[in-house]
Symmetry: C2
Subunit: 475 residues, 2 copies
């Protein structure tokens, strides 16, 4: 019953879409996703038909490969496509999910997860803080104090860049703790780093930018939101000294890109600190090309072998926009972050600025010292946990190498060449061990298979058990 | 020194912009605003030069007049343009504001307000609840309870349409109190009605919509966010029975528009309830044209002469998307709202879903009955205040007519034909009396001048004093 010859000319996939009137906007990955869905619904792609490899389809359509992998990922998550390791991705034989619930139930978590997977017991996901150590009572106190302090007249006033006390508190924190050049007038309070990246991308697009240089590998959500706002991400390789600034320069000549998104304090996911010479070279590049550097300062506070490296922003406050949030340092549930912007960048304000009460709480949390107390406590906890994880890895998997400076909440474990990361990840999921392949963060195929092990939310009591299970899977 | 002959071909204003690479996106009003700014900066528009009437420029550029009035309004607020009543808007003689701070300080409140105006003493702004009656302690309790109840595992989980308990609470409230056909799977928790409108507009655009029929007059922010997301608003006249469904049909034939944004329970700002025959006609229109009705249910709870009219959504759950929020019923500081969607509409999730803690608080606030208790208390307070305001108007301005059903938080006061609303608004601002002209909500010139008087935040003790001052201004 299988028809493996799709009656679809792939290069017309997006034409199909624009013929229906969608001429300009909408995230590209949604357009690809919907065009595929439509092709399947209309029978132009039959059950069992193979879709092209993502790289091939991306080239055919003239979009970045991320667009295609994200679209495929979503359709796999919905059961519209089926992915099997070592085989082509195909149109599922049966489409069971009713049309109505598709988008509603499945949208954000674009990581396809087997529906039958047990709950996570050993949480090795990167980018998640210690959920058990959420400072609930301090945050509740900050909320109460913030709410009590808010004058009536502020409740309905416009706060386009944020509530002034919150902006002042964040500016003071960034000056004090990140050695940034900050004052409240340059701070915007956001819903988080993703929100900040979206606002910045929109502003860059308005100024004529159409591309952005991003680290490869890197955290996908920020480059996806850049792409959703009209900036095509151009990958720049990362090595043990951080982003390769030589490649950055050559890619600039080739593409005219004048913006870059980097993680100088602690590269995500490879874990390098940007080398001092490269920090300077990055700033020089920005000056030479009238360019903007977006510094994603996501976990810079967590350094265990020395004081945290000052923010890159300090070197060139007129060229660097720093984005940060409480999501990875306190809790993703807070939905709060900030941007520190150069004086000539003023993005249009978000149509949905964060709750004023939350912003007042943020002001209290920072000015009362709760934020930095929480950071210090987390630093101690994560340092110990990292060491324990390293010790366990040395015992259980002594032959494997671990990368990443003594910092943050994750490290990279390179796998033996005969062990595919995807198989380990799948096997882990089926026994409650949440693992992440380095491939999730890159399209490059020249890197050895590796796992990005996050220990932010790993239960201290389960470190050795988690590593023993991991070792069993690897062997 | 005045050069009133601008050396600018107005029709090239947006071409200028697209030449610099901005081919598709960015809100239109920003593009117009920036093109004007650039023309001034580059000397193509000299100090003192008149800009065309907004209607003329809108026609020249092929954009809606709102786009131009918003752009002008912003530039006036920044001091780049100068508006004088009864005269052309001109380029300001001196540009004092440094480039760097323009956008940062002035973006959202696009209502030009004289910088020297005293603080508001008599708050007659529409759309603002009683700020003195903000249920601070009940909301603080809800936050505390919400934070305490959130399981660790939920803190980092994806909640693309919102936190399940909040969705359930809102669905139950909408069923119970608005007689909507609601269940949690169709609810999305948003940052407010504007956020909801933005998400819906984006989804409609993705489906090929390029226009939306909007009530004229209407609340500007929602149609602006629709336009920012690619839907050109087409005004449909409103009369004493609400939106004119006959005109809706003819405009549909002319434009192919298949979406409309309406306020059936209490038209904003004219204050009509949509007549029963028109409610049915609106639904018939939606079925005939495979169209979507967006029901802005902004203050439907506040009805003083009878029980609130059920949501239009009840008549056609498959054709009506209801958007609501706590902004006008509890506080704009909360930054929370919801959408109730037809089964076949599933917008892409927002990149910044509301704080999980706020959503957990919303769930508590609603399920503990605090929300509906607050609504009942507000209803009593607003009914009394409205009557007091009407009494004072009858005494002080007996010759003027007042429009609007016994509902909501505002009414419309028609001015004598020789009294321009703009002059009354300006004079009011200079003595702490915050007034709003009906013209703010419409481009139509065939309506008599009127004021939209909001009494949500008007101090009860100052009602008579406010009306006496207003009467003095009108005379």
């Amino acid at each position: 019953m299988q028809n493996t010859r799709p009656i679809l000319a792939w290069e017309t996939l997006l034409d199909v879409d624009s013929a229906s009137g969608s001429d300009v906007a909408g995230p590209l990955r949604d357009r690809v996703e919907n065009a595929l869905r439509r092709a399947i619904d209309e029978g132009r792609l039959s059950p069992g038909a193979a879709v092209p490899p993502s790289r091939t389809l991306a080239e055919t359509l003239g979009v970045s490969r991320w667009v295609v992998t994200e679209a495929y990922g979503q359709l796999v998550a919905e059961g519209v496509l089926e992915a099997r390791t070592g085989s082509a991705t195909r149109v599922a034989e049966r489409q069971e999910m009713p049309e109505a619930t598709r988008g509603i139930e499945n949208p954000v978590p674009r990581d396809p997860a087997p529906a039958s997977a047990p709950p996570i017991r050993y949480d090795l996901r990167p980018g998640i803080p210690d959920l058990r150590a959420t400072p609930r009572s301090r945050w509740a106190a900050a909320l109460r104090a913030g709410l009590a302090d808010l004058p009536d007249r502020e409740l309905a006033a416009a706060h386009p860049s944020g509530y002034a006390p919150a902006r002042e508190a964040v500016a003071a924190y960034l000056s004090r703790s990140r050695h940034a050049v900050a004052d409240a007038t340059r701070i915007t309070i956001t819903h988080g780093a993703t929100d900040g990246m979206g606002l910045l991308a929109r502003e860059l697009h308005r100024r004529g930018h159409r591309t952005i240089l991003v680290e490869d590998p890197s955290w996908p959500r920020l480059r996806i939101v850049a792409e959703d706002n009209g900036l095509r991400p151009i990958p720049v390789p990362v090595d043990g000294d951080g982003i390769d600034t030589g490649q950055l320069r050559s890619l600039t000549s080739g593409t005219g890109a004048r913006a870059t998104l980097v993680t100088p304090a602690h590269q995500f996911p490879l874990g390098a600190a940007l080398a001092p010479a490269r920090r300077e070279e990055l700033v020089r590049w920005a000056r030479d090309h009238d360019a903007l550097v977006i510094e994603d300062d996501y976990d810079a506070e967590f350094r265990y072998d020395r004081r945290p490296v000052p923010a890159l922003q300090r070197l060139a406050p007129d060229r660097v926009a720093l984005i940060g949030s409480l999501s990875k340092s306190v809790s993703p549930a807070l939905g709060l972050g900030w941007m520190l912007l150069p004086p000539d960048i003023a993005p249009a304000p978000s149509p949905s600025t964060p709750s004023l009460i939350d912003q007042a709480a943020l002001a209290h949390f920072v000015t009362q010292g709760d934020f930095e107390r929480h950071l210090r406590a987390s630093r101690t906890r994560f340092r110990r946990r990292r060491q324990r994880l390293l010790d366990a890895l040395t015992i259980e998997l002594p032959e494997l190498s671990v990368a990443g400076i003594s910092a943050g909440m994750h490290l990279v474990l390179t796998l033996p060449s005969h062990v595919p990361a995807s198989a380990v990840v799948d096997a882990g999921a089926s026994e409650g061990l949440a693992l992440t392949s380095l491939r999730r963060y890159t399209d490059a195929t020249d890197r050895p298979d590796a796992l990005v092990l996050g220990y932010g939310d790993l239960d201290d009591a389960l470190v050795e058990e988690a590593v023993a299970r991991l070792a069993a899977l690897v062997r």
